[in-house]
């Protein structure tokens, strides 16, 4: 048997390779560089790596091949395993932008009095002498940067994977570092470790489902590549039951990652327990990557079998919005509330996903579902990272104060921070002149155009519910007159370094600009075109 060297299109894939390369370099730094220098080197390495990869993504995007009269742009690379096309590069772009925000939040050391938000020594048991020593020596884990880069690489690969095996590998590459990162909080370590364990167990379980589904789909189609699977679905060969079970099980894995009901139960615990910078990075990144993969697998591999999975998504979308919105009402913790709200946002995004229509059914210049979801993910990412970044600022003696009662009257004590937080909440609630409104408009539109009016009606009702819990927080911050709360019970805003401030300000600016002039980003998403098959 001859061994042929696989062709790798380095010219297209180099942004991905830069991210993985930097991650590996980070591991080497960890092994060989003295402790005192690690923080600065790791931070610089991560930020530089992200920036280079971002530049690379733009460069690659500029000279993509145009296919079929501009319907799609891009190519399938690395022996058919990775599709570098318009949507993939859009995903890479926003993933890198949000990873940059995440990296800046990771590097924030002013809030904790000179150390990062991560555990001094993760191996030391909570409450032991070792932990106290690590704390007094000011130790910190700089491994978080390579871990984040690995997760980022996995996310980028996940949204570009063009066969089921690559997809599974990417899923694990993005998940494993995140499990670890979740357990590394400096404060409330037991909660953090519990979150990590829960995330790991449920994540492993869902991966098993996913893998089983991959096997079944392979059994149906005899192929791993999306295009070949699509061909098989189109020709309707073999055992239909096998295909349906396969689609179902792969969906379980993907829906778990995006946090859709009924696979959402990890979200509140993990979002609450994880160190807040990790939550911010994960909330934006995982969702984008998983929606990238979901869109590609449903539109490309199972695109000819739309009628079997669209009804399922109808139900899941309605359920997700309902569960997220209703459960968010009863939360009393800011991070948990944001977690449930992110579940509701998953539902809104699914509304966009199920709004897919054949190109022939669309009017000239009408919004496509892919365009709508891409835009929504962009707006959501900016506002969720910004919101969690603000959560890191609101602190009392015990670290971050995430209980609602601590936020009472924040609008009077720190009008600027409370005002910015209110702005993010309004965007998530979908109030006009914020980015969230345009995103919501886009996903509702494509769903309605595809005839999914029951989902749109449910989405409108859930939006009304959602408005309630967002606006209640604003009420709490600005209009609550109980000044008599005992000192220590209310939190105050700690002044952050430029790193966190910059992240918040970029988030605010993007949320405002995308709300007032969304045209350029919408056009960019439209230009990304369809997936390359």
């Amino acid at each position: 048997m001859d061994f042929t060297k696989p062709t790798i299109e380095y010219a297209d894939l180099w942004p991905l390779l830069v991210v993985f390369g930097v991650a590996c370099a980070g591991v080497v730094v960890e092994a060989f560089v003295p402790r005192a220098l690690r923080f600065i080197i790791q931070t610089a390495l991560a930020v530089a790596g992200i920036l280079v990869a971002l530049a690379g993504t733009v460069i690659v995007a500029r000279d993509l091949d145009v296919l079929g009269d501009g319907v799609a742009r891009g190519a399938i690379d690395a022996e058919g395993t990775i599709a570098v096309d318009g949507p993939a590069l859009f995903f890479w772009g926003i993933l890198l932008v949000f990873a940059l925000g995440g990296a800046l939040l990771f590097a924030e050391r002013r809030l904790e009095g000179g150390v990062s938000a991560f555990a001094g020594q993760a191996a030391a048991l909570p409450g032991t002498e070792a932990e106290r020593q690590a704390s007094t020596r000011g130790l910190e884990h700089t491994e978080v940067y390579p871990l984040m880069m690995f997760a980022l690489g996995g996310m980028m690969l996940f949204s570009a994977a063009n066969d089921l095996l690559t997809l599974f590998v990417a899923l694990e590459v993005l998940s494993l570092p995140l499990y670890l990162l979740c357990g590394l909080a400096r404060r409330r370590r037991l909660l953090s470790q519990e979150a990590a364990l829960k995330y790991f167990l449920l994540g492993a379980f869902s991966s098993a489902f996913f893998l089983y589904g991959v096997a079944l789909v392979y059994g149906f189609s005899g192929a791993m590549g999306f295009a070949e699977i699509n061909e098989a679905v189109r020709n309707d060969i073999g055992n239909q039951t096998l295909l349906l079970m396969g689609i179902g099980m792969i969906s379980v894995g993907l829906l778990f990652k995006v946090g859709a009901a009924p696979f959402h139960s990890w979200t509140p615990d993990v979002y609450q327990g994880a160190p807040t910078p990790v939550t911010a990075f994960m909330a934006a990144g995982t969702k984008i990557a998983a929606f990238g993969a979901m869109l590609r697998i449903f539109y490309v591999a199972f695109g000819s079998d739309r009628w079997t999975w669209q009804p399922m998504l109808w139900i899941i979308a309605i359920l997700t919005m309902l569960v997220g919105a209703v459960l968010a009402i009863v939360q009393t913790d800011m991070k948990r509330m944001l977690a449930y709200s992110s579940v509701a946002h998953t539902g809104f995004l699914l509304t966009g996903v199920l709004g897919v229509q054949a190109a022939s059914e669309l009017a000239d210049g009408e919004v496509t579902s892919l365009q709508a979801v891409l835009f929504y993910l962009t707006t959501y990412g900016f506002s969720i990272i910004g919101a969690f970044a603000i959560v890191t600022l609101v602190r009392d003696a015990g670290g971050e104060a995430t209980q609602f009662r601590s936020w009472r009257g924040l609008g009077r004590r720190s009008p600027l921070v409370a005002g910015l937080f209110a702005f993010f909440l309004l965007s998530m609630a979908g109030i006009p002149l914020t980015a969230g409104f345009v995103g919501k408009w886009a996903v509702f539109t494509v769903a309605l155009a595809a005839g999914a009016w029951p989902v749109v009606i449910a989405a409108v009702l859930c939006s009304i519910i959602a408005v309630f819990f967002y606006v209640r927080v604003i009420l709490l911050m600005f209009f609550d007159d109980d000044d008599v709360t005992a000192p220590g019970e209310v939190a105050s805003v700690t002044k952050p370094s430029v790193l966190t401030s910059a992240t918040i300000l970029v988030g605010v600016a993007a949320t405002l600009v995308l709300g007032v002039v969304p045209g350029p980003v919408l056009d960019l998403a439209a230009n990304a075109g369809q997936f390359v098959r």
């Binding site: 109030i431 886009a442 155009a449 606006v471 969304p518 919408l522």
Partner: protein
């Protein structure tokens, strides 16, 4: 001069004013932000007058500006005024400075700069609402007005304002989201017909299927019925006016709520003429219930501000009735009614605010005999009250009689029920006056002082307008009639018996 984008200027001035007012450097307790805010509101009024001066009554949409905004959604930044828009723009621009003067010390214990800034922001968004000729743009600003309104209610006012603000916002956003679904539906219909566009001109040409049209109409109508408000979606109204400052209530009831009836005319009738006629019986019934129910509930109130708020429910019933009677008297009457109600209710709210400030309570049962100590206050209150109940010679009479004519024209019993609203109005206004103003003055009222100059400056223009438009409504009618005619033509209705129209002419003059 005529190349100036006047309508853009119209909303940009108060918005810039809001920002300047909010961020102007100031010493604590300084009046500078308030002065800056007032100057900007007067500038806005000047722009409004300049627009009115250029307006040609017979020429349809004018001063139009159309620029592509979000190409992917077919959305344009498109502005223009017709008679309806012009009257509401002028009313808004005139009321805001009056409210600012009347509320000069209202927010002194909190943040006066914030109050003035939010009021100007509200004015800016409201002006875009009345000038928008693109449905998406309308929707955006329609919702955006809620943010300043929410902060105005929630931060300034009496205890319990937080939950009142929440209730207000939930109702409004609920309606707004239903409207959103309908607006999206319009996009889908428009996209199916070819190229998606949100311009009113393009949408009016669409041939919408009967069922779709009715659904879309229902979506728009629910949102406007919450906004206006109509029974049974009115429950936010009384709570809000009770807890908010009187100035805020003027901005809400006299300006923002007009968006509801404005929307019915501009969008429900303009875009869904067939469905509007289909829904007429239901809407007329709801309007009648609002008229009678609002008046009855108002009679039973013990809180002045709640009472005034609920009278508006009755008045909005009249306006809606006039709109859906589909006759030229009804249409002109309701447009006139919107303006006159704005003026009359603003006067009532502001004078009631003065009174409450002096007495420290808003309960009718605890106020008595104000007339003796503060005759000017009592007298002006009486004039505003008489205008509200439709006394001939005051402006509200003209609009009310036009609406009633159209109601009788629609069906005699509709008119008969509507007339009871006027009788009940006499009860709630005169009884309110009798209980609070007449009689022996209450103990502890020795220090009660009459209106000072600032307070007078705020309400005297309103009084003048009430009397002027009562005797000489022609300028208002000249502006509104062409709009109504073209609208009715679009709906495909003509006045049934010309003789009735002649009577209306006589009644109007």
């Amino acid at each position: 001069m005529s190349d100036l984008p006047w309508l853009t200027l119209l909303w940009a001035v108060p918005l810039v004013g809001a920002l300047v007012t909010a961020f102007v450097p100031k010493a604590p307790g300084s009046a500078l932000p308030k002065q800056v805010g007032l100057v900007f509101s007067l500038l806005t009024l000047a722009v409004g007058i300049a627009i009115a001066a250029q307006y040609d009554t017979g020429d349809g949409m004018q001063l139009t500006e159309t620029h592509t905004w979000i190409e992917a959604f077919g959305v344009h930044y498109a502005l223009g005024v017709d008679g309806l828009g012009l009257l509401l723009i002028l009313m808004t621009a005139a009321l805001v400075p009056i409210v600012l003067v009347a509320s000069w010390h209202e927010a002194d214990d909190r943040s006066p700069a914030a109050f003035f800034a939010w009021a100007l922001a509200l004015e800016s968004f409201a002006l875009v609402v009345f000038a928008a000729t693109d449905v998406f743009l309308f929707y955006v600003v329609f919702e955006a007005t809620l943010i300043p309104a929410y902060f105005l209610i929630g931060r300034f006012g009496r205890a319990g304002r937080g939950s009142a603000a929440l209730k207000f916002l939930m109702y409004q956003l609920g309606g707004g989201l239903i409207l959103l679904a309908a607006v999206i539906g319009l996009y889908v219909v428009s996209a199916d017909a070819g190229t998606p566009s949100y311009l009113l001109g393009d949408l009016a040409k669409l041939d919408i299927g009967t069922n779709t049209e009715r659904w879309l109409f229902v979506g728009f109508m629910i949102a406007f019925a919450i906004k206006a408000p109509l029974f049974p979606l009115h429950t936010w109204l009384a709570d809000t006016t009770e807890k908010a400052t009187p100035g805020t209530s003027v901005l809400l009831v006299c300006i923002l709520d007009k968006i509801g009836t404005f929307g019915m005319l501009r969008f429900c009738l303009g875009l869904f003429p067939e469905a509007s006629q289909w829904a007429t019986p239901v809407v007329v019934a709801i309007a009648l219930v609002s008229i009678v129910y609002g008046a009855l509930v108002a009679i039973g109130q013990d809180d002045i501000l709640r009472l005034i708020g609920l009278t508006s429910l009755s008045h909005f019933g009249f306006i809606t009735l006039g709109i859906f009677a589909f006759s030229s008297q009804g249409g002109s009457g309701s447009i006139l009614y919107m303006v006159n109600h704005g003026v009359g209710t603003a006067a009532l709210f502001l004078i009631a605010g003065y009174l409450i400030k002096r007495k420290g309570t808003s309960l009718i049962s605890q106020i008595t005999g104000v007339e003796a100590k503060a005759p000017v206050l009592a007298g002006l209150f009486l004039v505003a009250g008489l205008a509200t109940l439709g006394l001939p010679g005051l402006s509200q009479f003209v609009s009310e009689i036009l609406v009633l004519i159209s109601a009788f024209d629609y069906h005699w019993w509709v008119g008969a029920i509507a007339v009871t609203g006027i009788v009940l109005a006499a009860v709630y206004v005169l009884w309110l006056y009798q209980r609070t103003m007449t009689g022996p003055s209450a103990p502890g009222d020795e220090a009660l002082v009459d209106l000072n100059r600032r307070e007078l400056v705020a309400v005297v223009p309103l009084m003048l307008a009430l009397v002027l438009f009562g005797f000489y409504p022609t300028p208002l009618l000249d502006v509104s009639n062409p709009t109504v005619d073209s609208l009715l033509q679009h709906v495909g209705v003509s006045d049934e018996a010309p003789t009735v129209a002649d009577h209306a002419e006589e009644g109007a003059h």
